[in-house]
Symmetry: C2
Subunit: 360 residues, 2 copies
Amino acid sequence: MKRRSFLKKAAVGLAAGTVAAPAIAQSQPTVSWRLASSFPKSLDTIFGAAEVISKRVAAATNGKFTIKVFAGGEIVPPFSVVDAVQNATVECCHTAPYYFFGKDPTFAFACAIPFGMNARQQNAWMYHGGGADLMREFLKEYNIINFPAGNTGAQMGGWFRKEIKTVNDLKGLKMRIGGTAGLPLAKLGVVPQQIPGGDIYPALEKGTIDAAEWVGPYDDMKLNLHNTARYYYYPGWHEPGTTNEFSFNKKAYDALPVDLRRTLDHAAAAVSVYGLTDYHAKNAIALERLKTEFKAKVEIIALPGPVLRDLKKIAGDVIREESEKTPMARKIHASYTKFQALVGPWDRVAEGAYHQLVEG
Amino acid sequence: MKRRSFLKKAAVGLAAGTVAAPAIAQSQPTVSWRLASSFPKSLDTIFGAAEVISKRVAAATNGKFTIKVFAGGEIVPPFSVVDAVQNATVECCHTAPYYFFGKDPTFAFACAIPFGMNARQQNAWMYHGGGADLMREFLKEYNIINFPAGNTGAQMGGWFRKEIKTVNDLKGLKMRIGGTAGLPLAKLGVVPQQIPGGDIYPALEKGTIDAAEWVGPYDDMKLNLHNTARYYYYPGWHEPGTTNEFSFNKKAYDALPVDLRRTLDHAAAAVSVYGLTDYHAKNAIALERLKTEFKAKVEIIALPGPVLRDLKKIAGDVIREESEKTPMARKIHASYTKFQALVGPWDRVAEGAYHQLVEG
């Protein structure tokens, strides 16, 4: 928009109390960043979040700040993006931080914990329960500052080629599963595997693995999982609200002028709501398709109560043990579980009670 | 930050692939807006959302765009803020749009519908289910463009001075209740009243009303409601995820340079996640206080199943009737109910099933 045209159009604003101060000549360098995603381009939801932030940051800064987005493997392998940010190979990444729990279990608390917090609770902990501050204290040693950016919401429990009737049916299963959820499954005899999204279908199709979880109906169908396994389980006990994250190289972030930093922060928060609700709408449509179009091929069933009870008991113990590995993991585990215990009773009378009222 | 210092600090970015283009001299006028809130200053949650957006927009634009926030009644009465934006008395307002359902029932669909969608579902409809486009089509005649900005999450069912055992106990009750939820209650003999937040306590204390709902434990305690009524009911059947809104005068918004418009959009979306989770954390703490500190004074109890069943049946009928009043309300009611029916089965296996697993 030309300046003259803007001032003319702004007249209504002036009449209504706007004060147009004299124009200030400003000079600011442009900034170009590269973002390494852990996700494949085929997933418009989870990969798309990085593109959304890139477009929105460019638009909000008049093109002064551009972020070029690369899919998993394009410039950095999917599970090496944290190293790439740490080493300043790229300025930022978009990932699910639990991929890195092998480096340090602390990573998982910013993302998803089996039988842990859902999207709303997790964001409440991050923004208003001290979670973000603690995670940033931890991530300093990786030269990283992180922002929650996108959330899958509650996931599905995964695709299985054979039915799971008791915990015995889990024994010996090779299963693709993200994050710390493989730990309790391993106690029940599962062989957990962390495989990037784009590689799950061939592994399942070839029989290299027997079961796999990714996210929910929309993404899973994009990955073609419904064409290679019959039993689709719920609920997503292992990932109740997986929080993806933008992680920025701390020096690159701190070197930005403050207006660009704030623009990034808001865009990350905005992506949290766009992303969660994008998944919500798309998963609803995809579930409907599974129930109709793929009715003969796919069974959508609940995991048996006793299996879930065993998993819950084991998961609590295993996550506690895992958190004893480092002082930071212990500290963050304590904060996380305390916050979950605090918000649980509130959700029982609020969101949970409402879910039961309309769906029960 | 001085330019020299920025360039120095940006060196790490450069090494990591940043390209600093030559500085471009820019001139852009500063913009000063006024925002009229419907809410009292005492509520840091709901009133605070407008202050958050104001601060964040200023920070993201280097102070070029300032929004001065006025509490309900300071320059515009709480329930006149839409008129004030329509008439360009102020450039924007922050409100709960269902306050205006008397003008046109369509307003309510952007906010809260009894037995309607929760925060996640409502945002999914707004952002990804056509809801925002439809609401903006409707709001054109009010010279308004709207953005969801903050959400209370599932509310509590309200404070009552006497116990509600059957629908007969509702007869003749004068109750403060927001939005269209008064309509089904009226069918059961309640006299619904729309009273601004700041005026609820004196009305309940003086006995002008017998019952009142506002939001949830945190706000309600700030309003002192726990010191004037004993029975605190759940669930919030009437407001499952009340969406507050920033509404901008369309001409003032369109006259903004595109970068400032995008900055506003993101800040509104960011406030949606900050606001919802702020409520979540604070309500959890406040509920705990009610259960301990105020144990002798306050009973937190579920509305009886038969009362909820009657209300649900009546609410469905009444909202449908109400929506027949204007073509736009009919159109938006159809879109809203269709989306709610679509996402319901997904929530049954995802968020709802997970709530049941961990709280059930």
